[in-house]
């Protein structure tokens, strides 16, 4: 007869509650965006009475730390983000001791109903916590699709409308500054001027978010966020900051649109071989992917799902109307913020249009990763001449991304003139990835030059003549000079056509 040993049944990690009383002492850690977005999110959290700190920017070493602490085979964003959190906590524990880390910090991250690992990041995080001896550390998942999730995590996090709107608007403003940044830097006359302007602009917005007035937790906050001039006024200061940056838009550069998996395309740093900066060094103008488009995509997905339900369920019809209204308010707000920056940052593409463009290749209801957007965005940029080339960042071992990249083979078959460079990001195979990108970039450069030469021939404007015209209108050498699209993909060609029109 065997002895009766008590079972040691496994239980999943469950964080201790984070109570309201702890708020003033506990720092909320977060990460996964760019430093600009994170700074504004930090301000939005501080404004709500939280102590908040973004994790340090991702470094190459985080990949090794992540690999060491999680099950083999994780996708590279999971590995990097897990490694980054673990490294920070481990270093902190050395400094102040593990108990103090468990007591004084919590980690907050966006979850998702991810059929991919995005919805299962917590699993890697908890394994890592186990591995570094911080089992008691608390991490919490926010639902990225809910604006009002109420008190969560034991009351310490009050995820009401005011809280969520602060985060979302922080992200939108981060996008707008990033858009200006990438339009400006390749053309700056004084090296470093753009980076300095970005820094100043982010600090200006940080102050604005940090001291935004309290207008209640729900409807008051919503009405104020939508209709007050508070953020647009702050963005006008950003405009004034950028106005001072002198640019030479007649430099011919290929525009390279970044697409791909959410984390990888958003990231700026070692996690994606710092590819955006690398492209700029190689002579390109980068078109960065705004997080705003991702949020719009999530709304679009929810709407498509509801619209289908509404065919058989009358209750869903009401929800469809609400989501459509939300979508309109969202686009309207984004355009209003863009307006404060003279409308220069790019508009949000219509999600329905992206869905339709992608549909023959990739069903618009397939979620996970970027869904239809990978195909949709590439075709949208190609058809509307927004870029010469698409650089698509695919995470090593990503599930949904491999599927849409496969569908892109069909797109390429039908659109052989689309310059498309899918780059697999493993985190540790930089030379190979960048040299593949380099090959396509060479062709993109030729196209940009050809396009410019054609514009010059069409307008009869030589480079010298164009510079002469510019010198008579110094306002056109400001980073905030109008940015009209005259049917060319390249900035220089469009600018040349603009000069020609103005000189008539």
């Amino acid at each position: 007869m065997a002895t009766v040993s008590p079972p040691r049944h496994y239980r999943a990690y469950r964080p201790r509650p984070f109570t309201a009383a702890e708020r003033k002492d506990v720092t909320i850690l977060f990460g996964g965006l760019t430093w600009k977005h994170e700074r504004l999110v930090q301000a939005a959290l501080e404004n709500q009475g939280y102590k908040a700190l973004p994790l340090p920017n991702i470094e190459r070493v985080d990949l090794d730390v992540g690999k060491e602490l999680t099950d083999v085979g994780a996708c590279c964003p999971t590995t990097f983000t897990t490694g980054s959190l673990a490294r920070f906590l481990r270093d902190k524990a050395k400094e102040i001791g593990p108990e103090a880390v468990n007591r004084n910090y919590v980690y907050m991250t966006a979850g998702s109903c991810g059929p991919c690992r995005f919805g299962q990041y917590h699993e890697s995080y908890t394994m890592a916590l186990d591995g570094i001896g911080l089992k008691e550390f608390r991490l919490f998942l926010l639902d990225q699709t809910e604006l009002d999730q109420g008190a969560a995590a034991g009351g310490g996090l009050e995820m009401n409308m005011a809280f969520s709107l602060g985060l979302v608007w922080g992200i939108l403003c981060g996008d707008l500054i990033t858009d200006l940044e990438y339009r400006t830097r390749p053309y700056e006359v004084v090296p470093g001027a753009t980076d300095a302007a970005v820094k100043e602009a982010v600090e200006r917005m940080y102050q604005a978010f940090r001291s935004r007035p309290n207008r209640g937790r729900k409807w008051g906050a919503l009405a104020w966020t939508l209709f007050s001039r508070y953020y647009t006024n702050a963005l006008k200061d950003v405009r004034r900051i950028f106005e001072k940056v002198e640019v030479d838009r007649l430099r011919v550069k290929p525009r390279v649109k970044i697409t791909g998996e959410f984390w990888l395309q958003t990231h700026e740093g070692d996690g994606n071989y710092d590819i955006k900066r690398w492209l700029e060094r190689e002579g390109a103008e980068v078109v960065p992917p705004p997080i705003a488009v991702w949020l719009d995509y999530l709304i679009g997905l929810a709407l498509a799902e509801l619209e289908e339900k509404a065919e058989t369920d009358p209750k869903a019809r009401k929800k469809v109307r609400i989501v459509k209204l939300l979508q309109k308010a969202y686009t309207w707000s984004y355009n209003r913020l863009r307006g404060a920056l003279s409308g220069i940052p790019a508009e949000l593409p219509d999600q329905k249009v992206l869905q339709e463009l992608a549909q023959p290749y990739y069903h618009f209801r397939l979620n996970g990763g970027e869904g239809y957007m990978l195909v949709g965005k590439a075709l949208y940029a190609h058809r509307n001449k927004h870029a010469h080339m698409i650089c698509e960042l695919s995470p090593y071992s990503c599930m949904p991304n491999t599927m849409s990249v496969g569908a892109m083979a069909n797109v390429m078959g039908q659109h052989p003139d689309l310059l498309y460079s899918p780059i697999e990001i493993k985190g540790d195979a930089e030379v190979h990835a960048l040299s593949r990108c380099q090959m396509v970039l060479t062709e993109a450069k030729k196209r940009a030059q050809r396009e410019f030469d054609e514009a010059a021939a069409r307008t009869g404007l030589t480079l010298e003549k164009a510079r002469e015209l510019e010198s008579k209108r110094p306002g056109l050498r400001s980073a905030m000079a109008p940015f009209p699209h005259h049917g060319a993909a390249g900035t220089a060609a469009n600018h040349l056509i603009e000069l020609a029109r103005r000189s008539r």
Binding site: P7, C116, D313
Partner: protein
């Protein structure tokens, strides 16, 4: 059991005769991914529309030869083998039929008919399972439309098995043109499909129960396979469980574990009593993000295996580069081993059967199951209430 997997049965006699004549229509279905857990639905659905059983053609089991002969050069990306091998299945249906097919039906399975649905946060299929058809079709369209070039219409309806009410309309959207389908017909055919699927699942579960009862009666071990449904494909799962079964141990698949409440309430007796779980299908104690149907089921199966005395060993099968299984490796291991149950993982299954290493590992498994089972059974049995529903009442 697997030999008869895709066998066809005539339609239920109650199915009314469809008005449109589809008796000559030949429909091919790639035998891939979650078609393995929904094939009964597809067969009955088509039969209810008047497609003759002999005209419903499933591609063969996966094999390297199939891939070489029919799929070569058509794969667009490198990924897990269950998706990669689909090119061979598509190709076989296009090029490898003696009698030409009219339609290839490769469903985009968005959500699955999981027995855990309603108790978990979602029943999505893996993103690769859902998007696999879009990926693979691209290899047959990128240069020229191979389907229409061979007189075949390709149809890929988007279907949500977890929400039955949506399915008739989804069928009309996805197959309306190809099958000349209207909503009324689709509704009836979807019902017939689900009836067949439910009936088949119930039959398989009752067979599993019989096996468990005989193990309980004779106090002998059986093994539980935790895997994705398509690991039943000899070309994907490489029949590892068959090799173990050859040594005389019965094998159960988690997909067809009996769901009878007497059994489950006995197995989860302590957890229910202590309030750790709300009901027998609650997995929130071990897996908080329960969105993915097959993953949820694997976690649930691990819990059952950790508790049920006569399951003394778990075989965990995973395909190389499987992103869904990756985060579950450690939890599943901790669950199973936490219940004093043996666990053997085959984590990198790919196109080639690693015969040598499988043989050695099977020997090891058999050795340990023989050596440890009686102790494991006794230890686990002692933790459960005396009155076991698998045994005849005393």
């Amino acid at each position: 059991m697997l030999r008869t997997w895709f066998g066809r049965r005539p339609s239920a006699p109650s199915t009314p005769r469809p008005a449109k004549d589809r008796s000559k229509l030949r429909v091919g279905i790639p035998r891939v991914l979650n078609v393995w857990s929904t094939h009964r639905f597809w067969t009955a659905f088509l039969e209810a529309l008047g497609v003759r059983p002999e005209n419903i053609v499933y591609s063969s089991d996966t094999s390297e030869d199939q891939g070489r002969e029919f799929g070569k050069g058509r794969g667009a990306v490198d990924c897990c083998y269950p998706v990669k091998c689909m090119s061979g299945h598509y190709g076989e249906l296009v090029f490898g039929q003696r009698r030409k097919l009219d339609v290839i039906l490769s469903p985009i399975i968005y959500t699955l008919p999981s027995f855990l649905h309603g108790h978990v946060q979602g029943s999505f299929s893996c993103t690769r399972v859902a998007a696999g058809p879009e990926n693979i079709k691209s290899g047959f369209l990128k240069e020229a439309d191979v389907f229409s070039g061979n007189g075949i219409r390709y149809a890929s309806p988007f279907v949500s098995f977890a929400e039955r009410a949506l399915m008739p309309r989804q069928m009309v959207k996805g197959l309306g043109d190809v099958l000349d389908l209207d909503l009324e017909e689709a509704t009836k055919a979807v019902d017939a499909g689900f009836d067949a699927l439910d009936e088949f699942n119930a039959r398989m579960r009752s067979k599993s129960r019989e096996i468990l009862e005989s193990c309980a009666r004779e106090d002998r071990p059986c093994l539980l396979v935790l895997a994705r449904p398509y690991h039943m494909d000899p070309g994907i799962g490489h029949e590892i469980e068959v090799n173990v079964q050859a040594s005389g141990f019965p094998i159960l698949w988690m997909q067809y574990f009996p769901l009878d409440s007497d059994l489950l309430e006995w197995v989860f007796h302590d957890d229910l009593k202590s309030g750790v779980i709300r009901n027998c299908f609650d997995i929130s104690d071990v897996w908080p993000s329960s969105y993915s149907a097959n993953t949820n089921e694997i976690l649930w199966g691990a819990k059952v295996a950790a508790r049920l005395p006569w399951i003394t060993c778990v075989l965990r099968l995973s395909s190389y580069e499987c992103g869904m299984d990756q985060p579950t490796y450690t939890p599943v291991q901790k669950i199973v081993e936490g219940g004093d149950t043996l666990l053997f993982k085959f984590g990198d299954l790919d196109s080639t059967k690693p015969s040598g290493s499988v043989r050695i590992r099977v020997e090891t498994i058999v050795h340990y199951v023989r050596k440890s089972s009686s102790d494991i059974i006794a230890r686990k049995r002692a933790r459960l209430p005396a009155d076991c529903p698998l045994l005849p009442r005393r």
